[in-house]
């Protein structure tokens, strides 16, 4: 419950304005972006609907409209607007939307730069499902680097790099599909599923996200290697 600082009435935590005196409520410790914009905890959302909600709420909270209000209301407007902007940014992007869902469902972060694990030791935590691809890619990259040192035609190496990239890209597409499926499963069963099933879906989503981050890092590595080669090929 929130307490209205103007009239002292109680208000449900997802209300923005006091049901009693209709003044803007202080934000308090809100944590659920979905509820804040009035959406259920679902992963497949209509982007236009989200945008409309964002605009409508902006029109309700924005500090422009509280210029003549009391200091407390001005602060509430500033906090609610800032929070709304965060919420919109997080919900707009499908990946950060899943990350937020995992966070409010109490799962550990799926971000790759999670400080608790230390970000330097990427190699130590290769997701098991990717071991084969990572192994093959690293061998290929090593070989390409060696050939580059010994003066091999960079054009040829670029072609090899493109070939090495393919299986990783296929993996990424597969992951996009899996995330899509899991999201749909969450939306249809979601909160009403038995606790164990709910947990399993969330764990699976988190697993896919971790793998996805890893794949993106791999693609980044290939990208860097490629631009290095392109630079060499331009220097005659």
């Amino acid at each position: 419950m929130l307490e209205c600082r103007n009239c002292g009435a109680g208000a449900p935590v997802d209300e923005h304005f006091c049901p009693q005196c209709s003044r803007i409520l202080a934000l308090g410790r809100h944590g659920d972006y979905f509820a804040f914009v009035g959406l259920p905890r679902k992963l497949l959302i209509d982007p236009q609907d989200l945008e409309r909600r964002f605009r409508e709420l902006s029109r309700k909270f924005h500090p422009d409209y509280f210029y003549n209000a009391t200091p407390a209301e001005r602060l509430a407007s500033l906090e609610r607007s800032s929070y709304l902007n965060d919420a919109y940014r997080a919900l707009k992007n499908p990946v950060s939307r899943i990350e937020h869902l995992l966070a409010i469902e109490g799962l550990p972060s799926a971000r790759s730069e999670d400080p608790s694990t230390g970000s330097g030791d990427q190699a130590a935590k290769v997701p098991p499902s990717l071991l084969e691809e990572v192994f093959a890619l690293n061998e290929e990259l090593d070989e390409i680097r060696e050939l580059r040192e010994s003066g091999e035609d960079p054009e040829k190496l670029l072609a090899r790099l493109a070939t090495a990239r393919q299986p990783i890209e296929e993996k990424r597409d597969e992951h996009e599909r899996q995330l899509q499926e899991l999201s749909a499963r969450w939306d249809s069963r979601g909160e009403h599923a038995p606790a164990a099933e709910k947990r399993a879906t969330l764990e699976a989503l988190r697993e896919r996200l971790l793998e996805r981050n890893y794949i993106n890092n791999l693609l980044g590595t290939i990208e860097r290697e490629g631009s290095g080669l392109q630079a060499t090929s331009r220097e005659p």
Partner: protein, 617 residues
């Protein structure tokens, strides 16, 4: 109710506008001129001159005048050293501190100089409301515009300037966004707009989405040191190279050349060939003439204009859009009159840019609309802007940890946890930076914060939550709390390139002390302007082609002589600082020309009527 205005505080020119029942209007002087040149000049007696008067003095006494001060707002000496060589005024300051501008024996900070310009605009607006017969004509609140790509220090410096000018700054808004508001008024438009704003000193590109009256900025980019000034400098350097000689480098000659190349630049927007021409004078002894074609001009400035392309691509990329997604391109800023600029913009976005509104005035109009939204409670329109640069703090090894990302919609907030490294440590130092680079050394230092009052605890135990809040002005404030004890921390802020609150307070007090002298100076300028108006009106009549005939028919014996004498008397005193004499001679000239004015008016009316008769037949 006192008045609220919108102000475009520009590098070259400034303007003030207000909303008349929701419709924005630019305030003009008696000659219909809306632009106040952003030039400040200090007289021998310490009098401050602003605008046209200061611009005139820039030629006569260049070392006592300052222009383009906006380029120095919120900057350090190391940022501006390279460009100060050709400026007539002294620029100094300690490394890592605020720039100081020296004029004669006085020293000013850029916000103080800007405050003089703002005070002039405030005065202009008050004069307008007074003449309109408004009972309460005081202007004490304003929305002031800044380039979208201004960082925190530059915004704060602008807000300080407002305070120093006796204005409550209701809001700092971004120039391209303001322009889009002014455009949005006419058509209840929706779609995706790119605003390309190339002004006197700064370049901005903003991509906006407009729907249901909400103007949402998707991304912004730019260069706060790229504009018409740089074009002028290129031309100026070209001319100086051609007439090389130590004599030509003195400030008076440089200013004369600057004036001439600016005129040539303007000409070349309309015609294909012109002349850079400096009349011989005691200072520029030989004079100078040189033909320049538009092709020459474009060859010289092309590299500068092309520097605007990368920010455009970056902004499109950040918004996740392709050029073909843009429905409209709007041009803002005087430099967009240059045909090459228009062609380049058209190439980037693949469509002809819009310029229905005067590119010099559209920003001030938008600021007036925003001022009206703030005080009237009108809710048809809402501006949602973004912060142009990421905000972060320095962490171990000089790496920046970003807390609020660039292009985040503002207001925006972020939190970061800190703890102590030593037992019973009661303070923590935090270095706040702005920029996109990874290393603190490559980003802009905003401030050093010192968190104090942490309850003594073993190292690592305190959990200090620091809250970063960027408000709707794009200005940062910081709060901190130790979560175990819920004790709010004290924060001392030492801005890197700004004034502390105490410094602003001191300047405010000083400005009150100067207020009386400034008030007298203002009265003198008003008297001169009044005199100038009467002289011009008289000259105009005397130069009429039919004056001889008119004089023969209508003037009494000796009347012409009396007029000439009064005119000469007034011209003799107008440049002096005796206000009483100027007013007296103005009155005398007015009196001497009264009869002449009547007969001229009658003749004009007769002619107009006669003209109509002919047409009717």
């Amino acid at each position: 109710m006192s008045k609220v205005v919108g102000i475009d505080l520009g590098t070259t020119n400034s303007l003030v506008a207000y909303a008349d029942e929701g419709r924005p209007v630019v305030i003009r002087d008696d000659n219909g001129d809306a632009l106040v040149p952003s030039v400040v000049s200090v007289g021998e007696d310490g009098t401050i001159y602003v605008g046209r008067e200061a611009q005139r003095r820039l030629l006569a006494a260049p070392s006592r005048s300052v222009y383009s001060v906006k380029r120095f707002m919120g900057r350090g000496i190391e940022d501006v050293e390279h460009e100060s060589a050709l400026l007539p005024f002294w620029v100094s300051g300690d490394p890592g501190g605020v720039v100081r501008i020296g004029i004669a024996d006085r020293e000013f900070t850029p916000p103080e100089i800007s405050a003089f310009i703002l005070r002039e605009l405030k005065h202009r607006a008050e004069e307008h409301f007074r003449q309109r017969g408004d009972f309460d004509f005081e202007v004490d609140r304003a929305v002031i515009t800044v380039p979208a790509y201004f960082n925190d220090a530059q915004r704060t410096a602008t807000r300080d300037a407002g305070r120093l000018a006796g204005l409550e700054v209701l809001r700092i808004i971004n120039e391209p966004t303001a322009a889009s508001l002014a455009y949005g008024l006419d058509k209840r438009s929706r779609g995706t707009i790119a605003v390309y704003d190339l002004g006197g000193g700064t370049f901005d590109i903003s991509i906006l989405k407009v729907e249901d009256g909400v103007f949402q900025v998707l991304s912004t980019n730019g260069d706060t040191h790229l504009g018409g000034d740089d074009i002028d400098r290129l031309l100026l350097e070209q001319v100086l190279a051609e007439i090389a000689g130590p004599k030509e480098q003195d400030p008076t000659t440089v200013e004369a050349i600057r004036r001439a190349v600016i005129q040539a630049k303007w000409d070349l927007s309309d015609i294909d060939e012109t002349e850079i021409r400096i009349e011989p004078s005691p200072a520029a002894h030989t004079g100078y003439r040189r033909a320049i074609t538009r092709a020459d001009f474009e060859r010289i400035i092309r590299p500068l204009v092309e520097r605007t392309l990368e920010p455009c691509r970056q902004a499109l990329g950040d918004a996740g859009l392709q050029p073909s997604d843009i429905d409209e391109v709007v041009l803002v800023g005087g430099s967009t009159r240059i045909p090459l600029v228009r062609r380049v913009v058209e190439e980037v976005f693949g469509r002809k840019p819009h310029s229905d509104l005067n590119p010099d005035e559209v920003v001030a109009l938008g600021a007036a609309v925003q001022a009206d939204i703030l005080v009237s409670g009108r809710r048809e329109m809402l501006l949602l802007d973004v912060t142009p640069l990421s905000l972060g703090i320095e962490t171990m090894g000089g790496v920046v940890s970003k807390i609020i990302l660039r292009n985040s919609t503002i207001p925006a907030s972020g939190r970061e946890m800190f703890t102590t490294g030593v037992d019973n440590q009661t303070g923590v130092d935090i270095h706040v930076l702005q920029g996109e680079r990874e290393l603190a050394a490559d980003c802009r230092s905003l401030a050093h914060l010192h968190l104090g009052g942490i309850p003594p605890m073993p190292a690592g135990l305190p959990r200090i939550e620091v809250r970063f809040q960027v408000d709707a002005n794009g200005i940062l404030s910081v709060g901190a709390r130790e979560l175990r004890t819920s004790i709010e921390q004290t924060i001392e802020v030492k801005p890197s390139y700004g004034l502390t609150d105490q410094e602003v307070e001191r300047m405010l007090i000083e400005s009150f002390e100067h207020a009386e002298a400034d008030f007298e100076a203002r009265l003198l300028i008003d008297a001169r302007n009044e005199a100038e108006t009467v002289i011009q009106a008289t000259d105009k009549v005397l130069r009429r082609p039919d004056f001889a005939a008119l004089a023969d028919e209508q003037l009494e014996a000796g009347e012409r002589e009396r007029i000439d004498a009064a005119l000469a008397d007034l011209k003799a005193v107008i440049a002096g600082s005796d206000r009483g004499a100027i007013q007296e001679k103005t009155l005398a000239l007015n009196h001497a020309t009264q009869h002449l004015a009547e007969v001229t008016m009658n003749r004009t009316v007769r002619e107009a009527l006669a003209g109509r008769n002919v047409k009717d037949v």
